[in-house]
Symmetry: D4
Subunit: 152 residues, 8 copies
Amino acid sequence: MADDGIWNVYLAGEIHSDWRRRIADGVSEAGLPVRLLAPVTDHGASDDVGVEILGLEQEGFWKDHKGAGVNALRTQTMLRRADVVVVRFGEEYRQWNAAFDAGFAAALGKPIVTLHDSGLTHALKEVDRAAMATAQAPEQVVEILRYATVKE
Amino acid sequence: MADDGIWNVYLAGEIHSDWRRRIADGVSEAGLPVRLLAPVTDHGASDDVGVEILGLEQEGFWKDHKGAGVNALRTQTMLRRADVVVVRFGEEYRQWNAAFDAGFAAALGKPIVTLHDSGLTHALKEVDRAAMATAQAPEQVVEILRYATVKE
Amino acid sequence: MADDGIWNVYLAGEIHSDWRRRIADGVSEAGLPVRLLAPVTDHGASDDVGVEILGLEQEGFWKDHKGAGVNALRTQTMLRRADVVVVRFGEEYRQWNAAFDAGFAAALGKPIVTLHDSGLTHALKEVDRAAMATAQAPEQVVEILRYATVKE
Amino acid sequence: MADDGIWNVYLAGEIHSDWRRRIADGVSEAGLPVRLLAPVTDHGASDDVGVEILGLEQEGFWKDHKGAGVNALRTQTMLRRADVVVVRFGEEYRQWNAAFDAGFAAALGKPIVTLHDSGLTHALKEVDRAAMATAQAPEQVVEILRYATVKE
Amino acid sequence: MADDGIWNVYLAGEIHSDWRRRIADGVSEAGLPVRLLAPVTDHGASDDVGVEILGLEQEGFWKDHKGAGVNALRTQTMLRRADVVVVRFGEEYRQWNAAFDAGFAAALGKPIVTLHDSGLTHALKEVDRAAMATAQAPEQVVEILRYATVKE
Amino acid sequence: MADDGIWNVYLAGEIHSDWRRRIADGVSEAGLPVRLLAPVTDHGASDDVGVEILGLEQEGFWKDHKGAGVNALRTQTMLRRADVVVVRFGEEYRQWNAAFDAGFAAALGKPIVTLHDSGLTHALKEVDRAAMATAQAPEQVVEILRYATVKE
Amino acid sequence: MADDGIWNVYLAGEIHSDWRRRIADGVSEAGLPVRLLAPVTDHGASDDVGVEILGLEQEGFWKDHKGAGVNALRTQTMLRRADVVVVRFGEEYRQWNAAFDAGFAAALGKPIVTLHDSGLTHALKEVDRAAMATAQAPEQVVEILRYATVKE
Amino acid sequence: MADDGIWNVYLAGEIHSDWRRRIADGVSEAGLPVRLLAPVTDHGASDDVGVEILGLEQEGFWKDHKGAGVNALRTQTMLRRADVVVVRFGEEYRQWNAAFDAGFAAALGKPIVTLHDSGLTHALKEVDRAAMATAQAPEQVVEILRYATVKE
């Protein structure tokens, strides 16, 4: 909860479905005192940001390294400022960065909400164990935020 | 003391008497720069929130577990943001969550005020020892907040 | 895990049953690399230590306050050094100090194991939620320690 | 570096190849002042530990939850004690717990070494960015440990 | 520096001379972005606050204890929020609380400015050593604040 | 990111070129939610501030010591408040204070951006390794800030 | 409590009476697992250590500054390692360093025992409030340490 | 001071003169309870360690980056474990890593001793200000360590 009474909620993980928009819509409709934070969700821009700004690389490893640095500057700042961290896992990709963000948040003592289908339950058991809640739909996350921020 | 000069005061513990309202009234009448924070005080809603939002459970243990997670997401965020933590113990129930909140606040270095009748003194000696003040009436808490925030 | 490879395990809570001895026996029989720490479990000595060492008090509140200070000097040092905190709740007394210790440990990021009968489940839901495991028998705690310290 | 001059090195991640043994052999042959720590690597035991010790569950989610709690009690203690955290990613499974451990270590300021084949480079870019070194073979990790601990 | 760009400056120590007013006047005249914080400077009110609010005590020790608790609730909150801590030592009284506040601030990593006559130099050498500056007049403190907050 | 959604960016290092102005211009033109912080960049004023405010010194060492204290009061406060720390190294002077600021920021877990010509790469390898990005032109820093703060 | 089961107890404050020896004798006679730490108690050596090792100074302020730096290197290291901090106040001198050490220890969350005659009670109320116990004789401190370290 | 009563002293900075050996000889001759820690002082090995262990790089920047990572794994672990950090600046090279280490140590609250000729005083004023002592000869550092560790 920020000093203005608004909660900073960081939405980590999957960038290929509309879950962030659905949470944003729910928060907006409910008029919750919540500020949503997120990584850059334009996949191409995120992959290329390092070489775009700082110069080309020949090796893929270093191209990725540069890009990951610029993204981490953003995401770690947001993670440190967040009151709640929501981490979404989808079916595609390995999404190790989502799990990394969850571990980072856990070590900082941030409350975590995981969001994923039940088919991923066993694979995500360590991450879910570190969470205060595990949801399957974005609307459930909105309900949790409503309960946390304005329920009396 | 938040950056806007307002103190965040978290009111932990008993939810079955009017002590929070009496403190709120006192703070309001005195015009103190205090933002009161609290857990959800609707007992039924608090007990059921886990299964309400995240789906039914057959086992009471897991129903409680789910609900406690959603409540902890709220209370731990508020505890971490609080400048002062007031912890109220009543005659009913075992109120282990109130003592838990007090221990949590103590380890974070937050100043604690305990609020309870003198009949509970011996049972609460460890918690009272960790507090900066032990009050018996909500109005005393208001006076402490007045002294802390606006007395010159 | 201390630098000598030994785990410091603090046994908080109830002092009127033999649960600490049963854990100590189990740890000893299994030859686990575990150093058990505990508060003073002699109830009378614990209650009187303040006035015994530092002088009599007329008011019960201050007698308790003195005693709680000396006990806290011991218990908070042990809590800070512990790798794992086991918290036992029994049927007798309100045991607010046990819940306080659990909250203190939780805020420090220490893994907690709670130990209590199933009849206390609802009352302890917030404390159990903060724990890595909830056991009903001391022998289960020994098994957890065996798994944590020597299982390959 | 522990007080006895020995470095605690936690080996996180994949449990289905012989990478831990190869590091252990290398450390042993070189006589390095290194104490290797690891999660339980018996997959079945790790999956079942929760219900084995604490009682059966009907729901897979809660069975996993119980097991993950007992495992986390071990792994988070070791992570907090570690001087260096090596995180291995293999081809099989999603290994979100490995990425979670890496994020946890990063937030604690622990130096990380990642270990994986070059084919995983792009998928692991965020984790590799948080690491001090990225190796492809266990023997390279041994060389890093040799350099860190005994090279003059 | 608070999020609104204003610096919180805590003025600890002596309450029997006009040094706080002189700093306040200087800050005001210079229009500095500084919020001045202070303990209660009404000596009688400060001494009596414990028993005034929480009930009379027979023993002077416990009267002082109660009062010191309420004052600490205020001062430690302000110390934790302060960007800069100014500590004033005068000729009268032993002022152990001023030195205590300085030690508290030092351990939190807060920059300290000490303010005292040159006659106290040897007695205050440990406190001065922990300070970023040692001034003899309040106007010097104002100049330091001007330099820190608005000088380009 | 401050509670008002604005990022505090501290610009450490070289004070003899126009790099800070170029970043300020870029931030301003792009309308970024960024608050730029900086040490005093008037070299003479910075060198003399100690003796100017606190009295003359005969020894150069103590003149420097006094001045460095007043400057550190400003810079360490800003470093602690910063979300991002940009550190500029130029060709002139040894600039040990810039590297000191970088180390200070690194230990606090702040994301760092280094800014220097490629000729300094080898000499700055340890500082660059601790940075999330290494830029050669102020305009690249502006692009990084744009990406971090407003890119969607 | 150190990893070898021994408690580090730092004895701060007065260096002109035999209180440290009396505690040392008591600890030794009782065979307590306690390692006693202390500042240099040779007053002359302590005052002169800065100029003795690092070269003469003309100004008393800087002579003191140098000496206080070397002493702080010792005392702050010991304070950070201490499990318990005993702070002794005597009748002579202003002893601001003792109160500074107490404040430093308090902010670090170290349990404090104060030791002084009852005549100093009012002047030391803030320091005593931060302590877990206030003793008047060294033998009482030994009893507290016995209770904390070996009582069952 | 480690749990075995030995102080960990990290010797940062210049690797081209015999200052570390002179401190080691002094410590050894005096029989001080001090464990000396250091970066790898073989310049070539230090520069090449990254590519030696982890594979060649075409770009100098990335060769340096790899090497600096492996070195940082060692030095940051030692810095975190150190009780005292000695930082040596010589005439050659820019030694930004030495100043970086000093800033890193300062932010962690480690006592620092700087060691350099008087000709570097003005350039090092910020670093010296953060130090508890500034020496010109290694033998002075030995005397400081003797005073800190064994003087009574």
